[in-house]
Amino acid sequence: MISDEAAGQKRLLYPEKKGGLRTVSPSGLAAFFGQVFAIVEVEIRKVLRDPIELFSRVAQPILWLAVFGQVFSRIKGIPTGNLSYMAFMAPGILAQSVLFSAIFYGISVIWERDLGIVQKLLVSPSYREALVSGKAVAAGIRGLAQMVLIYILIWAMRINLNHGVVSILGVMTAVFLGSAVFSTFSLVVACIVKTRERFMGIGQLLTMPMFFASNAIYPVALMPAWLRVIARFNPLTYLVDALRQLMVQGGQSVYGPGMDFGVLAAVFLVLLLLASRLYSGIVR
């Protein structure tokens, strides 16, 4: 046993030469993706161990669809083209649930900073972009899980959905990208405000205006001019627009899927670069 212990100790350290490394961290794309997936795996494991939060996020969409949607369908005051109001708002509610759960992602980073987890990640020789992308990809996967739950809800309410493979894959892509955009945005906010209290305040302050200044529950054409301008700069508008065409039968995109996905991808890239720059600042 003693020799085993000694062998273990020798393995632990670096007896060959002073300062010699056991692992030469590879650099380049392979290392980058290795680090991204290391973060993704950890995040997914944690969600799977404690999935209650995931389910609790379905409560709000139920309220919007079952209460708000049902009531507003009766008024028929919102021009939704050839769609029923419920079919019109269903993609909006999916987008909203993506936004609302991703926007609080940043608070977990503040929490991890307070626990010292972020410090350890930042002291490791990983790319900052990989750490941030890992979080975004994990948020994307959570978004997909949420999509499944909301699809069940929508199906139960007998709203006509597109069942084609292309539509489903398109919706998945949009939900993934949307989750990545809003979670990375949330990370940027967290890195700037740095405390949980301030983050909660800002999070509340951002989500409802983003929701109402979008085409989620009424068309942009119905808005006053000033709000229309804000809606055009709101990434949520493009997510809803993409989802509306892909998700519901007879749904029409206003800006076209190319524009929608282009805007979302571009916003994500900008936020990713910004968050990677700001991420190390959270521990200062």
């Binding site: 490394l21 056991r22 030469v24 990640l121 020789p125």
Partner: protein
Amino acid sequence: MTGETTAQDVAVRASQLTKRFGSFTAVSRLDLTIRYGEIFGLLGPNGAGKSTTIKMLITLLAPTSGTAVIAGFDVADSSMDVRRRIGYVPQMLSADGGLTGRENLTLSARLYGMPRHERSENIRHALKFMGLEAHADKLVKAYSGGMIRRLEIAQALLHHPAVLVLDEPTIGLDPVARHAVWERLKVLRRDLGLTVLITTHDMEEADELCDELVILHHGKKIVAGKPADLKAAIGPDATLDDVFTSSCGVIIQESGDFRNVNQTRRTARRLG
């Protein structure tokens, strides 16, 4: 410090290391030399600049001026090379509670680029060395403080760092857990010649572990040397506590705000 120290023997060298936040100087022109194989203690009261110094050395904070070189690499110019060569254990119990011990180690191994075929074997040895084998697959949130700290040390050692940096390694641990951590650190030094940098304001810990120490106060180095020499300089029965209070106490008397506190206390005593 001895004059014979050659560049090859030096694990950490800081020269005139300075950090300012606006008009506040957290660390002022700090010189440090840490040789391979020694446990080096950075002591000082709260707010002395220990954490800021550590953050600069582990590349989390850029120095305002001055330089620091770790295992031959400059923290400012070659931060990635420095990161590959250091292991860091933060002050907070920072292992991820939602993961098992093994998963925490796997995450570290992957972030440090350890090849897949080496991972499980290396992780097993690290767990064994830290006495955590039996708990490897339990969630860390069920661990005691001492177990979490040992897991974190295992995590920080996995990639063979040249320097292990521990910020207040036993703060908040019970005496048994404290001694267990000390014992492991001593084994690491004795058997494997690991270089360790710790911050602490626990004088017993400093006395027990450190080969060399520096006391910081208001961001400046005010005392440096071996614990035994420092104690001997004060008196025959002096403890490190005496060294600490005598060195920091002098300065406390000199600074205006602290004298005011003392005056207030005297007034309170007189009145009361």
